[in-house]
């Protein structure tokens, strides 16, 4: 199966600009993500990471600039049919009226890609992978935040995407499961050469899985490059974001 599995796609963003009600959120972003790359976007809360992802998967239209998937504009007809994409929403965005199994299998059921028995098997397999074995019959309302997030990841994996977006995949998970998720992102990446774009605050996750990291700050890219390059970036804002920790240090707290 892995031989004929779809290959990742290349994504290019050119001068992407977006404002909401005259309030600029993204200021002319320029970057490219190569096939099969794990690209991590970090940045403080409110810096525009989720807005950026929504543009990349076509939920929002840019004010200016282009998003190209394998050279084709992301919004153009047929792109969604030709390339399989998936997004793990920050909130999970599970369908509340469907149970876990139906949520995870939704893509296959609605597009009639497999017979029901086969769908049930795939769903069970993906749920087990995420440590959710036997939860098919539960409703999203009965799950914890972290479980919802994992169901959302299972739902995205079932699509076998060529391009996958994760919005804060580990934000509500305990460290053990966070590591599992990180490994799963990498495994998917190796097995099918998918292109993964991960938005996260989690520095361990970012430096653990990224081929390249971009640091977003107030709608601009502050630094972009390999983890080592970003780590070595002299920009004080970058260092501040990467080095912030909880240890109380009386010297820095006095002006």
């Amino acid at each position: 199966m892995s031989d004929e599995a779809p290959q990742g796609v290349r994504l290019e963003v050119r001068r992407l600009t977006k404002s909401y009600n005259g309030q600029p959120v993204l200021h002319g972003l320029d970057f490219a993500v190569e096939r099969g790359e794990v690209f991590v976007i970090m940045g403080p809360s409110g810096s525009g990471k989720t807005v950026l992802l929504k543009h990349l998967i076509g939920l929002e239209t840019p004010d200016e600039g282009d998003i190209l998937i394998e050279g084709e504009p992301a919004g153009s007809p047929g792109v969604m049919e030709r390339y399989r994409m998936a997004m793990v929403f920050q909130s999970g965005a599970l369908l509340n009226s469907l149970n876990v199994g139906e949520n995870v299998g939704l893509y296959l059921t609605e597009h009639r890609l497999k017979p029901p028995a086969e769908i049930a098997r795939v769903v069970a397999e993906k749920l087990e992978l995420l440590g959710l074995k036997g939860t098919e019959e539960k409703l999203p309302g009965e799950l914890s935040g972290g479980m919802k997030k994992r169901v959302a990841i299972a739902r995205a994996l079932v699509i076998e995407p060529q391009l996958i977006f994760y919005d804060e995949p580990t934000s509500e998970l305990d460290p053990l499961i966070a590591v599992t998720i990180g490994q799963e992102i990498l495994r998917l990446n190796h097995r099918m050469r998918v292109t993964s774009i991960v938005v996260t605050h989690d520095r361990d996750l970012a430096f653990g899985i990224a081929n390249r990291i971009a640091l977003l700050h107030e709608g601009r890219i502050l630094a972009i490059g390999t983890p080592d390059a970003v780590q070595a970036d002299p920009n004080p804002l970058v260092q501040q974001f990467l080095k912030a920790d909880f240890r109380f240090n009386p010297e820095t707290s006095t002006p």
């Binding site: 929504k54 998967i57 939920l59 998936a86 997004m87 909130s91 599970l94 369908l95 509340n96 597009h111």
Partner: protein, 248 residues
């Protein structure tokens, strides 16, 4: 409300274009139909029994006094099938089913479920709007037939048991049978089908257009019900006028 008419018409057009998808969504149509029945049958029964009854009560004594008893059945029957059953059932369904549609789709919008569908390349018109539209367009006319029958019985009961009217059951039924044509029932069914389309489109549109949080959902529900009822009453006049041509 009226600035939305264009969008509502667009949604209706898109739903028509999605009609070939009906077979794939068949199970959801049945589910929706079941919900409509569940939400409205008992109410419809009570409502029409009393509407039929009050019609007989209002017209009966006056007509009996003037020796026109033999027309009571016809009056009650005609008013029910041409006017009251379609309009009252449409209002009932707008309140019970239209509101639920707007709330359900609205909360899916607010909680990003529609976004999730879109990223899975699932068209919300096929997945959500089409089954609801089909179910209501089928369900409302069926409900109206039921309401007409129950309403006739309500009228009959009052005629038989009210001393001022004192029309026998047979007499009432004969008047009903002589005075009412199949076309009169068809007339009411055409109306109710049109009302169903209005309720379905307006409510689904409001749901899809929901913005903001829980308060946005509340606003959508109110608008869906109020706009549906206003449109039903306006359309009722227009349709009554147009359908007069059917009589000759």
């Amino acid at each position: 409300m009226f600035q939305n008419i264009g969008e509502i018409a667009l949604l209706f057009g898109r739903t028509l274009k999605a009609l070939p998808q009906t077979r794939r969504q068949f199970r959801k149509v049945l589910e929706q139909l079941f919900e409509i029945g569940n939400a409205s049958l008992l109410m419809a029964c009570v409502l029409s029994l009393f509407i039929g009854g009050v019609l007989a009560l209002q017209t009966g004594p006056v007509m009996s006094e003037r020796g026109l008893q033999s027309f009571i059945g016809q009056i009650v029957g005609l008013s029910l099938c041409r006017e009251l059953a379609p309009v009252m059932m449409a209002v009932l369904i707008a309140g019970r089913v239209g509101s639920a549609m707007a709330a359900e789709i609205g909360s899916m919008k607010v909680y990003q479920e529609l976004d999730a569908l879109q990223t899975m390349n699932i068209n919300p018109i096929h997945y959500l709007v089409l089954p609801r539209m089909l179910a209501i367009s089928l369900g409302l006319p069926l409900l109206v037939i039921f309401a007409i029958l129950v309403g006739w019985v309500g009228g009959a009961l009052v005629c038989v048991f009210n001393a001022q009217i004192a029309v026998s059951f047979d007499g009432y039924m004969k008047s009903l049978g002589n005075g009412i044509d199949v076309l009169d029932v068809v007339n009411g069914l055409i109306k109710s089908f049109a009302f169903a389309v209005v309720i379905g489109t307006v409510s689904c549109h409001q749901g899809l257009a929901t913005i903001g949080g829980p308060r946005g959902i509340g606003r959508s529900v109110t608008k869906a019900v109020v706009n549906s009822i206003v449109l039903i009453l306006l359309l009722d006049y227009v349709l009554t006028r147009l359908l007069m041509h059917l009589d000759k």
